[in-house]
């Protein structure tokens, strides 16, 4: 998860590097730190550094980190020859490394040699049963092969051991949503909210899922979580503001009328949206108003 400041910092660096303004190493380091997937850019700019002996030696020991980063980016872009070359360099430098072994197995994955990759991961896990990254590769492989139920199974097994891995809970929730298993997705978000109650993203996602399941009680709950999202974001979350409007509208349809509390919060949400659109998106203000009208909020 990336904050807005980190996102704009990344965007700035990315533009700078793309326009030959330098800062490639800072960009690559930021991508590494935030664990983002920018494989085509990482490949391009990482190779520029690696193919230049002066730039390479200026990195010192970080050179090997860059080889690893570029190898993974190359795998993602299906540039298998580049990946192979990077892995060879790392194999020479770190001959019995488990970390390099992991890259070799990922290369097998990228080639589509699933059975061999599975064997490689299993043997790596024998010596290292608590390696999170390798355990996750199993899930990724299942997903890549279209074996979604297998991915769910592996992911659940993973979470039994690494239950504090929030990204894994999110991944599982997203897989459940893609299969329309909303109750199971809701459970994942409940776990996340319990362990990190101050993160608005989880409240918002939970509200979206609960709204999608539907029914009066769920709409009431969704409304509460949209409200908590608004609180946690200081009123700045457009999706949550719309969420309030959708909930109060749907509740009114089911109960054949709008109670005063709902009238109040939907009025507040609508006003906040109008203020935001007036300021940042004035050409769409009238569209917003007619949308709110069709939800019977105005």
């Amino acid at each position: 998860m990336v904050s807005k400041t980190e996102e704009s910092q990344l965007q700035q660096l990315e533009n700078q590097v793309e326009n030959r303004g330098g800062g490639a190493w800072e960009y690559l380091s930021l991508v590494r730190k935030l664990k983002l997937r920018r494989s085509d850019k990482v490949l391009k700019h990482g190779l520029t550094i690696l193919n230049d002996p002066k730039k390479r030696s200026a990195l010192g020991p970080d050179e090997w980190t860059l080889y690893e980063q570029v190898a993974i980016a190359a795998l993602d872009c299906q540039c298998l020859e580049v990946a192979k070359d990077c892995i060879k360099v790392l194999q020479k430098k770190f001959p019995d490394s488990k970390r390099v072994g992991r890259l070799e197995a990922m290369l097998l994955e990228a080639k589509g040699s699933w059975a061999e990759a599975e064997k490689a991961y299993s043997s790596l896990l024998e010596d290292n049963p608590l390696d999170q990254v390798i355990s996750m590769r199993r899930v990724a492989m299942a997903k890549a092969r279209g074996d979604i139920l297998g991915a769910i199974e592996w992911l659940n097994k993973y979470l039994e051991i690494f239950m504090a891995d929030h990204d894994a809970w999110r991944e599982l929730a997203e897989i459940y949503v893609s299969l329309q298993m909303y109750k199971q997705a809701a459970f994942c978000y409940e776990e996340l909210i319990l362990s990190q109650p101050m993160i608005p993203l989880y409240h918002l996602a939970y509200a979206d899922v609960i709204y999608t399941i539907g029914g009066l009680e769920n709409l009431q709950t969704a409304k509460k979580y949209y409200a908590s999202t608004i609180e946690l974001t200081g009123g700045k979350n457009t999706r949550a503001l719309f969420g309030i409007c959708l909930c109060t509208s749907a509740i009114a349809q089911l109960t054949k009328g709008r109670n005063n509390e709902d009238k109040e919060i939907s009025g507040l949400a609508a006003a906040a949206l109008e203020k935001d659109y007036k300021q940042s998106s004035p050409s769409k203000l009238s569209l917003l108003s007619s949308t709110l009208r069709s939800l019977k909020i105005q």
Partner: protein, 199 residues
């Protein structure tokens, strides 16, 4: 009401290219979009498209409901209505119309029985560079009175040069300029109409 047996579907190149650029911008996730147009005799003319979402929660209702209301409102003033749905799967070789796509398509079908559902065919898209082809790189599905969506072969691009233009845009990485509804909800100053895209 015609069951779509004789209907042809024609998609304008701007609508067509926009959807594919959207898919190319978000290579690692599913994306979807709506098709706008009108029924004209025995042809469904798809003249516009709006890219919707790319986030992994593509199956959730709230953003979809807001998007559909806004899009219907905007385009009805131009005499256009929602005539179809576009979907691109997450995986390269997945050419199946999944349940999320079918559900959204079913919803649109209720309002427009001649709904076109277009699924991106990645292999065809990739092959464009080596093999000149004017056919759209999408699989068309239509629904008859049964509940199933069936593959149909009756879609063409309005302009025969659509794929050539698409290749042009691909090499200039034009997808960076595409804005979808997700982007708009994250930053309302972003224009989901993409009015400046082809200028």
């Amino acid at each position: 009401m015609s069951n779509g047996g004789e209907l042809r579907y024609v998609i304008g190149q701007n609508a067509y290219i926009k959807l594919i650029l959207h898919a190319l911008k978000h290579k690692t996730s599913s994306v979807n979009g709506v098709l706008l147009g009108r029924l004209s005799g025995d042809v469904v003319e798809i003249t516009e498209s709006v890219p919707l979402f790319h986030c992994s929660q593509i199956g959730l209702l709230p953003p979809l409901e807001i998007a559909l209301i806004m899009i219907e409102e905007y385009y009805s003033s131009q005499g256009l209505s929602i005539v179809g749905y576009f979907h691109a799967n997450e995986r390269f070789d997945d050419l199946e119309l999944g349940t999320v796509a079918k559900n959204i398509a079913d919803h649109i079908y209720r309002y427009f029985p001649q709904t076109a559902v277009l699924l991106l065919d990645n292999k065809k898209l990739g092959a464009l560079r080596n093999k000149k082809d004017t056919a759209p790189v999408m699989q068309l599905y239509t629904r008859d009175s049964s509940r199933s969506w069936n593959v149909a072969n009756r879609i063409t691009t309005k302009e025969p040069s659509a794929n050539i233009l698409l290749l042009d845009f691909t090499s200039s990485e034009k997808w960076n300029d595409i804005v979808d509804f997700d982007d708009h909800l994250d930053d309302i100053s972003k224009d989901w109409l993409n009015s400046e895209l082809f200028k």
